[in-house]
């Protein structure tokens, strides 16, 4: 690979000597910068991992050391005695429901907006685009008002339903369905399939890459969501991981400044994300770039 990039430079004979020196210096600079950034980006996670297995006094006295001395499972054991397992379960339940509903509803709506012809379609899409521009953070109080008004405050529906459709997800699916050649649907229609059957048995199976992207984004979005869970409940038995762990800093679970506990809790919350990320990185990247086009 490197030979192809350096060839044109080597051929211009007058600058070849300068060019080669230039390249090796440049390579060293790039490697040095890379090493520095790699440390800045990887070290915090390593510290988190190691500190989770330290005793608190060791964590406070040797925050930079990479060897727990002594090795301790104290943080793990103490987390198990608290509501932490419950929060983890809540996060799993909420994430599963939100992801399943989002994938289904967003692909249905995306398909209708892309392919089905009905009165009012353009208006619906225009409104959707406008709603997408409303920043989520200013909706916290408004959403609380409605959740409270509907009488579902402090319940699983309050945690799940408001997240069950995501305007950006509808947008992703609409874009995807617009790329599918219409001839396939026509063939299904000639064979006598109605719109629902065409959608479920013909179009949806073709949409696998878009569905995976949407699944990943929904999983990540709902697993990491904080704001919505703050305003949807104040009952600690309904906390998800983000909400529960945020309470750790104000001394929740008697943690105070028990750093190994907070590091262990954060670590356990990050592991599912990390696993999904390692296996589906491609789709994360796609999601990020969709965001760019949309903006």
């Amino acid at each position: 690979m490197s030979t192809t990039t350096e060839e044109p430079r080597a051929r211009t004979e007058s600058t070849s000597a300068v060019g080669e020196r230039d390249t090796s210096v440049k390579k060293m600079l790039v490697y040095a910068a890379l090493a520095a950034f790699a440390i800045i980006y990887i070290y915090p996670f390593v510290i988190q991992l190691v500190t989770a297995f330290k005793t608190n006094s060791d964590a406070v006295e040797n925050p930079l050391s990479l060897v727990p001395d002594p090795f301790s499972l104290d943080a793990w054991n103490r987390l198990l005695e608290t509501q932490f397992p419950l929060w983890f379960t809540n996060s799993v339940v909420v994430t599963l429901f939100v992801t399943a509903m989002r994938v289904l509803f967003c692909s249905m709506a995306g398909y209708a907006l892309a392919r089905l012809k009905f009165f009012g379609r353009d208006t619906v899409f225009t409104v959707l685009l406008a709603l997408m521009a409303v920043p989520g953070i200013v909706l916290l109080i408004p959403k609380f008002l409605v959740i409270n008004y509907l009488g579902i405050y402090n319940s699983y529906p309050a945690l799940i339903l408001p997240l069950a459709v995501d305007a950006a997800g509808v947008f992703i699916m609409k874009q995807f369905f617009e790329q599918i050649p219409p001839s396939i649907e026509e063939a299904a229609r000639i064979d006598g399939a109605g719109p629902f059957r065409t959608f479920w048995s013909v179009v949806l199976p073709m949409a696998r890459p878009a569905l995976i992207t949407l699944t990943i984004l929904s999983f990540q979005g709902s697993w990491n969501e904080l704001g919505h869970f703050i305003i949807a409940t104040n009952d600690s038995s309904l906390y998800t991981l983000t909400r529960g762990l945020a309470s750790l800093t104000s001394g929740g679970l008697g943690s105070g400044n028990q750093y190994p506990i907070t590091m262990m809790a954060g670590l356990l919350m990050t592991i599912p994300t990390a696993i999904v990320f390692v296996f589906f990185q491609r789709y994360f990247t796609q999601g990020a770039n969709t965001g760019a086009e949309k903006g």
């Binding site: 930079l64 953070i137 200013v138």
Partner: protein
């Protein structure tokens, strides 16, 4: 037969979008309308906001935030000041860092490029709560960061407990002013419930720590955008510049950066819109303290509504923040559209000019 008509599926169409309409209507459209009403009412939070005891108070809640000297305006302006410095620091830094990371990871000779790209992007997909917990530990008084600084003989501040303004400290260090006795005309002149001295504080040390964290976290996402743009870079232009004897830095500034201009603009505007919404880090790490120096509009809105139980004021702050972000979004659209149009106009002009010159040339050739 008409139901089989491929051009018309009104029933199916509306059925397909019903779940979306119900959920977005209930939890996005209705909340906006309801909050708009609450923000112009005197609702105490008890019972329904639609009963007859709740009165319309006009723009009073907004006035308290903008036009009436008092604690509400002081807090709101403090949050605006903090976030202004926050945006001013975070956006350029994360853009430059993202571009730097993208250029490094894009080097063809590099081994393990995928690994490093993954490492730099990973913080963007991790929960902000988990990252905040780690940074709280890294930035404690005796934490990893200060121990590291100690290796170079620097004694670091007690980050999250330090409310000193960075500009105050810097100005004091270079002798512009004395922090213990600020100039009277600065501390004596009040603008919108804050003295000029307070306006000029810069971000506090605590807020700076949050800024470092956010820069570190979000650069990865923007790095991916820059990487996509860098891979579209036409190699011929770069090689031509190389043949002309331009060095790496010159080529970067004169070939790469102009090519990336649209992406830079996008990253900057997305960054501005995103940074004005900062909430999670403040909620997890500082609660707006020390001395309200990490208070942001989003967090103030939340705190006013749920801690002080003043939902109308909280809703009013949320709407002001919304208006600000909406204006920024429109500005972004305007800047981006303007640029495209300007480029198109330039291209058309050039084309016309070329046509004219070729026409005159051909006529002169003919006459010759």
């Amino acid at each position: 037969m008409s139901s089989r008509d491929p051009q018309r599926q009104p029933v199916a169409g509306w059925l397909f979008i019903t779940p979306m309409l119900v959920i977005l209507g209930l939890f996005l459209a209705a909340p906006i309308v309801m909050a708009l009403w609450v923000s112009v009412s005197d609702w105490t939070g008890r019972g329904s906001p639609f009963i007859s005891e709740v009165n319309f108070v006009g723009l009073r809640n907004y006035q308290d935030l903008l036009a009436q000297d008092g604690l509400s305006r002081q807090d709101f302006m403090t949050s605006m000041r903090n976030t202004f410095y926050y945006v001013l620091g975070v956006v350029p830094a994360q853009t430059v860092l993202a571009l730097t990371l993208a250029v490094i990871v894009n080097q063809k000779f590099l081994r393990g490029r995928t690994f490093f790209r993954t490492a730099f992007y990973f913080p963007s997909v991790v929960s902000s709560v988990a990252i905040s917990l780690v940074f709280l530990f890294l930035f404690t008084g005796t934490g990893a960061v200060n121990q590291f600084l100690g290796l170079f003989g620097i004694s670091g501040p007690n980050w999250f407990a330090d409310s000193r303004g960075v500009l105050h400290v810097l100005g004091d260090a270079v002798g512009v002013w004395d922090v213990s006795a600020p100039p009277a005309f600065l501390s004596g002149t009040d603008v919108l419930s804050l003295s000029l001295w307070e306006w000029l504080s810069g971000p506090s040390v605590a807020l700076s720590a949050i800024m470092l964290q956010v820069i570190w976290t979000t650069a990865g996402t923007f790095m991916l955008m820059f990487l996509a743009a860098l891979q579209d870079l036409p190699t011929e232009v770069d090689e031509a510049a190389m043949v002309d004897g331009a060095n790496t830095w010159q080529r970067f500034m004169n070939v790469t950066v102009p090519h990336l201009r649209p992406t830079i603009l996008l990253v900057v505007t997305l960054g501005i819109i995103g940074t004005w919404q900062v909430f999670d880090q403040v909620y997890v790490m500082t609660d707006g303290g020390p001395s309200k120096t990490t208070l942001t509009p989003a967090y103030l809105s939340f705190q006013t509504a749920f801690t002080n139980l003043d939902l109308p004021s909280g809703a009013a702050i949320a709407f002001l923040l919304f208006l600000l972000i909406f204006a920024l979004t429109q500005l972004q659209r305007f800047v981006l559209r303007d640029r495209d149009e300007a480029r198109q106009r330039r291209a058309e002009r050039r084309q016309r000019r070329e046509q004219r010159t070729t026409r005159t040339r051909s006529t002169t050739e003919v006459s010759a």
